[in-house]
Symmetry: C2
Subunit: 332 residues, 2 copies
């Protein structure tokens, strides 16, 4: 048999469970099968990561695998769904080591256990370029409960989960260490920021709350302000975010105290993989009680073209860049 | 908005129909949704193409797009299913031209019309490496009717669709023109072989016949002999192919008449995207009548480790390489 066949058998077939049964048939059939759905619908999302663009080629293979699945899980969760199964395409440079593949497969295995989904197919190809991973994730959502970007109404309350800006600061630590060297981050804080860039933690625990309460939602992947703008545009509304209410980690607070200009990086930097959920005012209190670790950060308004971020004095902040565009390299 | 956003809006959103409705919501939601399934199951397959490995970087963009979808359609058809919807990941080198993208999108549009499926999502990323396209295709199959590699029984008849070896000869024309220059192919024959490499034609018209009659099947993508071996291995049987019965185009017959050594290229070269279907003997005649353009080429036998290809005198052929492994470049 071929080298590709060996590679699949050794590293990826063990991620399908139980072996040789549906849906994946031990990856022997080029095609997986899903059971009929009755009380739910299937969600489909796909996200790709390229070395040198979305991660550093020398990041640990375990983290790269985790991130490749996590960024897809994040999309499903923000739509009110639960991850179910995925297919993986991986383009491998010629010099890839068996150890790297072993660690990558182990990272995928850990991530799929964490998020409750399984590998059901894939394709492994060789490339003369950088490593690339593309995952298509299928999720399940109760019929009729998918939450779209569209649906926010004036008066709805804007929530965000977790903390914002950590991953962008973690990336900054990698690309422009000098800037952060001026701050007095502890080594634990530095580790926190680096980890948030390396290993995003999509909020699977919020999926049901989002499905139940949100009028609109998306995951924060391209920067809080940019993604909020996208949600407002799709909903044909405007809105306001109060910067002082945006939840920050103690590491981000320390960095910001020393370097106030980092506020823009925090609000627009991306890679957060938190949930931005808009909830009707009448349900906001219930959502706040039931959803773990979410914070009110703003309000939806009438005017379609008005997206404002207010500082602590209620004055609009001027932000140069509202969303990160991955059509630039991280390794400049 | 970002460059990626513009690119999606301009080239890919028009491939979702109707715009802004389910399943794809005009590509605005990062996530598509599928309706509940009742009388069918969903098939999932994924195949990626890399420039310089699976196609030539200077192939027409229209052909590249067609091939990227066609190779996935081929997998679904060979399992007895019909293509339904797909997500596209495309990694673009920096120097890609708008014209190229326009032609690529047009090729995808033509291919999806031909195969009866639609774009429902995707991801567009930048790469410093070669162009890469990864498609995950979802197909529909009548519940319980998916045809696996496993399932062939001794005495079953082996069928193949279309003609075999054209694409491999078409590739040879590109990489080793001298070899074929010795043959007296007409320009129409040369064009036929090139076209079969550039634009595979998966046999969607055979899906229902495969679902109804086949005990096992797969698509011929890595070479007839190698893929037949895989089917036999999965089914725990052996089998025999009669080389003289393998259907050839008149171009392949001409090439073979001048260069008998090309038989190995034809039988093992790959990229055929034909259907290899194994049918119980009692149903073989009906299958032959109902299925368009299929040919009996062999029989399934008892012995698991015995895969034979017989020449016109009934003697086993010795083949050096049984399957093409894409872990080599085409542009050596």
């Amino acid at each position: 048999m071929t080298k590709e066949h060996d590679l699949i058998n050794r590293y990826f077939a063990p991620l399908c469970s139980p072996s040789e049964a549906a849906p994946a048939f031990g990856l022997l059939d080029d095609t997986a099968i899903l059971p009929p759905t009755k009380d739910h619908q299937l969600l489909v999302t796909t996200d790709a990561l390229v070395a040198g663009v979305h991660f550093f080629a020398d990041d640990p293979a375990h983290s790269i695998a985790h991130k490749a699945l996590a960024v897809n899980v994040s999309d499903i969760v923000a739509k009110g769904g639960h991850p179910d199964s995925y297919v993986l395409t991986i383009a491998l440079p010629k010099n890839i080591e068996p150890n790297w593949l072993q660690e990558f497969a182990s990272g995928l295995g850990d991530a799929q256990s964490e998020y409750g989904c399984q590998l059901i197919g894939g394709d492994t190809v060789a490339t003369s370029g950088p490593l690339m991973i593309s995952i298509t994730l299928l999720g399940k959502v109760t019929t009729g409960k998918m939450v779209r970007r569209k649906g926010a109404r004036p008066g709805d309350v804007v929530f965000v989960s977790g903390t914002i800006g950590d991953a962008a600061l973690g990336l900054l630590l990698r690309t422009n260490g000098e800037l952060l060297a001026k701050t007095t981050l502890t080594s634990r804080q530095v580790e926190h920021l680096r980890e948030r860039y390396l290993q995003p933690q999509p909020r699977v625990e919020l999926a049901a709350n989002v499905a139940t309460y949100a009028s609109a939602a998306l995951d924060v992947s391209d920067g809080l302000v940019g993604d909020f703008s996208k949600l407002c545009a799709a909903s044909h509304v405007g809105g306001t975010i109060e910067a002082a209410r945006v939840p920050l980690s103690d590491a981000a607070i320390s960095a910001l105290a020393q370097e106030p200009d980092l506020l823009e990086t925090i609000l627009t930097g991306g890679d957060d993989y938190e949930v931005l959920a808009v909830v009707p005012a009448a349900l906001a209190e219930k959502f706040e009680q039931e959803a773990v670790n979410v914070m009110r950060i703003g309000l939806i308004g009438e005017r379609q073209d008005s997206i404002k971020v207010l500082d602590a004095d209620g004055q609009p902040l001027e932000l140069a860049q509202s969303a990160y565009d991955h059509f630039g390299d991280i390794e400049r």
